[in-house]
């Protein structure tokens, strides 16, 4: 066990926005919407329990000890509780505040520190990730991943397990728009993300092509940097703000009317720049403007005039990526879009809105709980009896695909943009 961490005896008002904690009226209606409570069935792993810990910390009724940190860490940050909450608690902001406090005041074990630093040093930088994955690509070409996995330490082995096979991307691309969009068509920019552009760039390209085909003017973003969500969710507030500022600048220059991302976590992070940078006079206004332009791909495609579609006969179940459904409130649009494809039958899975355990880098930092959630998700998917699981977030895609792979399931996991491209081939 790690040495006892800093135990502040004074109230730590900075644990989170203290007044925001009082939005919670302790009714407990959030519990069954919380993935970790559903698994452990313990109150400290429920949103109400975590808020109670934050409140107790803020009031100096307890210190920040290993147990409190453990229960904050275990929160995947899915925000399912925000959807369930009748009282309008801003749980996302509360847990982000708690994570900042933890990183500033708590010394983690060596392995934990190593893991978190590695994640923070690699994932936000596409060229670093590409470099790291280059040898693995070679390994995959000869089908030697299982051999490699067997000789590497457990932790690395588990991480490798989550990676999709790195074969040359064979996912079909949507046809490019044949007619140039009118100059007065709304301009859309697709934020390509960091991990997504390395591991799932077809989703970005397909998003752009589908938007182009739907009549939008697609503008490019230069430079693209990580949205900062990864940092925000792991208590690194200053770098999160650095990324946010860079993106605000770039997105403002791109001059788009709408901003979309194939990763819903990035969409929500951008949608919250306005809040994140509200105290920086130089950026506050631009950040707010940028945030107000975040849209989701399916809603934009749905707004465009319908085009004749080819038949694509299959059964599809739709997984609600947490930040898309709980962060942006998008539920119906992707389903409507899927249902508009002739031949597609939508079969709903139970708990489609429950986190799959991917949650940014959560499946790397909390592999055991992430795996429990993946199993539960896979059970629900298999029970639904679909040919495809469609979702709109690459993280969920890797996580669910890895679990289905382990089970030898034939069900294919496809990003919405890729699915629409495939269906239009």
């Amino acid at each position: 066990m790690a040495a006892p961490s800093l135990i502040p005896l004074n109230p730590v008002r900075g644990v989170s926005d203290y007044d925001l904690l009082f939005d919670c009226v302790h009714c407990g209606l959030c519990a069954e919407a919380c993935p970790t409570y559903i698994v452990t069935r313990c109150e400290m792993d429920s949103p109400r329990g975590r808020i109670y810990l934050m409140k107790s910390l803020a009031e100096g009724r307890m210190g920040l000890d290993d147990d409190a940190v453990r229960h904050f860490d275990l929160c995947p940050g899915c925000r399912g509780c925000e959807t369930a909450c009748p009282s309008g608690v801003h749980y996302g902001r509360l847990i982000e505040g708690a994570r900042l406090l933890v990183e500033q005041n708590h010394r983690r074990s060596f392995v934990d520190r190593f893991k978190r630093r590695a994640i923070g040093a690699i994932f936000p930088y596409p060229h670093r990730l590409r470099m790291l994955l280059a040898p693995l690509k070679l390994v995959d070409r000869f089908g030697l991943r299982p051999v490699l996995g067997a000789v590497l330490p457990r932790m690395i082995h588990d991480w490798l397990d989550l990676l999709p096979p790195l074969e040359p991307d064979l996912r079909p691309l949507a046809a490019k728009a044949t007619i140039a969009p009118r100059t007065d068509a709304p301009a859309v920019v697709v934020h390509r993300g960091c991990v997504a552009q390395v591991l799932a760039n077809s989703e970005n390209l397909n998003s752009e092509r589908l938007l182009g085909a739907a009549g939008y003017r697609v503008v490019q973003l230069e430079p693209t940097s990580c949205c900062g969500a990864l940092d925000l969710h792991s208590g690194n507030g200053s770098r999160a703000r650095d990324f946010a500022r860079a993106n605000v600048r770039a997105l403002k220059n791109a001059g788009a009317d709408a901003i979309v991302s194939a990763a819903s976590g990035c969409s929500v992070a951008i949608a919250e720049y306005g809040d994140l940078l509200k105290d920086e006079p130089e950026f506050a206004e631009d950040a707010r403007a940028v945030s107000s332009k975040v849209r989701d791909l399916s809603s934009l495609l749905l707004d465009a005039p319908a085009r004749p579609k080819r038949e694509f006969r299959c059964r599809v179940t739709y997984h609600d990526a947490c930040h898309l459904v709980h962060g942006l409130g998008v539920r119906e649009a992707p389903r409507k879009l899927l249902a508009s494809i002739p031949g597609v039958t939508i079969v709903e899975m139970t708990e489609s809105e429950l986190c799959c355990g991917s949650a940014g880098s959560y499946n790397l930092t909390e592999p055991a709980m992430a795996r429990d959630l993946a199993r539960r998700k896979a059970d629900n998917i298999i029970a639904a009896g679909a040919d495809y699981v469609v979702l709109a977030n690459p993280g969920c895609e890797f996580q669910i695909a890895a679990e289905l792979r382990r089970r030898g399931s034939k069900i294919k996991v496809v990003h919405l943009a890729d699915f629409l491209a495939m269906a239009s081939q």
Partner: protein
């Protein structure tokens, strides 16, 4: 009352029974168990036990019994009266891991479930076949069947269907010494003393319920849900009596006053009339033939009573939205103030206009905002008293205002609680409603199940000799 404490040897024994993930004994983790939805009073247990089966639960109660240690049962902790506050009970036993639905018997319309099953999950498990479990408290997305049984919970639809006790056929209960007993049976009609009825509503003072056989109801063929707006609460409550007097008993008849309408509207945007002084949600259900006639009749009566508008929910989506707003109204009030205390008095339906005037007067005198959202059809009030726990004076005023309202309910021939239970919140008011003889007989009945008073001590029945002040806040108000 227990003076024994939990030592290492006992912890080891309990861990042996439950496994490492069935026991919580660290202070930080126990902290979150120091209150339920009644947050005025706080007290954490010394140990939390999470059994997974009746056998485990029986074994831990036997172990506690051997050492004379008292315990408090807990389900999801959504109660509003402090029923699972750990008072002189070092051990808390939470049924959250006992959440299996054991058997569904559609032919006999019943379901057998463990006590930790979430209320709504019962309905979810049977709705594809057109059935549902009737008691529908507002917390039904999270509260457990065991908690419902302890508090004899109701919900909007109790007007037609009755409360929990009307839906429980049989119970498996672990008595405080660990003995497992079966009460009631699958048959709809029973003879002899109604022991199931004695346990339902006993608030965990008769041992811990581990399993229940519940009745299932058939979904009605159709619904009509009306939203009637009134210029003020007085007119709305008079309309309630007129509707029932006209011979129509709706499935639900709910009222929300202006404060609640505004909170709900801000939270859910249902399209409630913001200028109304009060609204009624009236739900009729049954065979399609005749429903329209009844709905017209109700609308006519509402208009006659002085409604400013009456509107029919157009479709299932609009109906669902209305109910969502109603069921989450309590939480929506959280947007108006940091804390609230929900009262739960009952008055005869015809006294509704009078009691609402009393509540308005209390609100003025104590300088506290009080909203009303309640089951008007059966006279079950839920005045929601808003306060800020950071101001000790407000906390005191909130408690006193609540008491005064409850006293007025009793004076009008009503009751202290419709569905939230006595818990610790209304302990001090029990003597207002019951004579010392009544309370003695209740204690004697309790002793049949729990002779040593170790199961949820300090709840429901005030200790003899204790004065009304027993429910005064025991906790330290954090400054």
């Amino acid at each position: 009352m227990s003076t024994s404490t939990i030592d290492r040897k006992l912890l080891d024994e309990l861990r042996e029974i439950l496994g490492a993930d069935g026991i919580v004994s660290r202070a930080t983790e126990l902290k979150v168990y120091e209150c339920d939805g009644w947050t005025v009073e706080k007290s954490a247990p010394d140990v939390l036990l999470l059994p997974r089966s009746t056998a485990q639960l029986s074994a831990i109660l036997a172990a506690l019994h051997r050492r004379g240690i008292a315990f408090v049962p807990r389900g999801a902790g959504t109660g509003l009266s402090g029923g699972c506050l750990s008072l002189n009970a070092p051990a808390m036993i939470c049924t959250s891991k006992m959440n299996r639905i054991l058997e569904i018997d559609f032919d006999n319309r019943r379901v057998e479930a463990e006590s930790g099953v979430v209320n709504l999950h019962v309905t979810n498990a049977v709705k594809s076949k057109g059935y549902f479990y009737a008691p529908d408290p507002s917390s039904q997305v999270a509260c457990t069947i065991g908690g419902n049984i302890a508090e004899n919970s109701g919900g909007p639809h109790t007007l037609k269907y009755g409360v929990t006790t009307n839906h429980v056929l049989a119970l498996e209960v672990v008595l405080p010494d660990g003995e497992v007993v079966e009460l009631g049976g699958p048959a709809e009609e029973r003879c002899g003393y109604d022991l199931v009825g004695a346990v339902v509503g006993a608030e965990g003072t008769a041992g811990i319920v581990t399993r229940a056989t519940l009745k299932l109801m058939r979904e009605p063929e159709n619904h009509r849900t009306l939203l009637a707006a009134f210029p003020d609460a007085d007119t709305a409550t008079r309309a309630v009596s007129m509707i029932i007097a006209s011979g129509i008993v709706p499935a639900a008849l709910e009222m929300m006053d202006q404060l609640i309408i505004r909170a709900v509207e801000e939270a859910f945007n249902v399209g409630l009339p913001l200028d109304a002084g009060a609204v009624l949600i009236i739900e009729l259900e049954g065979l399609e033939a005749g429903l329209t006639t009844y709905a017209d009749e109700v609308a006519k009566t509402a208009n006659l009573a002085g409604a400013s508008s009456v509107r029919l929910a157009r479709d299932e989506a609009e109906r669902a939205l209305l109910w969502k707003a109603r069921k989450r109204a309590f939480g929506a009030v959280g947007r108006l103030a940091p804390n609230y205390a929900t009262q739960d008095g009952v008055v005869p339906r015809t006294c509704l206009p009078r009691i609402l005037r009393v509540i308005a007067e209390v609100s003025r005198r104590y300088d506290l905002r009080i909203g009303n959202v309640f089951h008007a059809g059966d006279g079950n009030l839920h005045p929601i008293i808003l306060y800020d726990e950071r101001e000790p004076d407000q906390v005191r005023r909130a408690i006193d205002a609540g008491r005064e309202i409850l006293k007025a309910c009793i004076d009008m021939g009503g009751s202290l609680t419709g569905e939230h239970g006595i818990g610790v919140e209304k302990l001090g008011e029990m003597p207002l409603m019951f004579s010392p003889d009544d309370l003695r007989v209740m204690t004697e009945l309790r002793h049949v199940f729990d002779p040593m008073e170790r199961s949820n001590p300090g709840k429901v029945i005030p200790q003899p000799g204790a004065c009304v002040e027993v429910a005064a806040p025991r906790r330290q108000v954090p400054i």
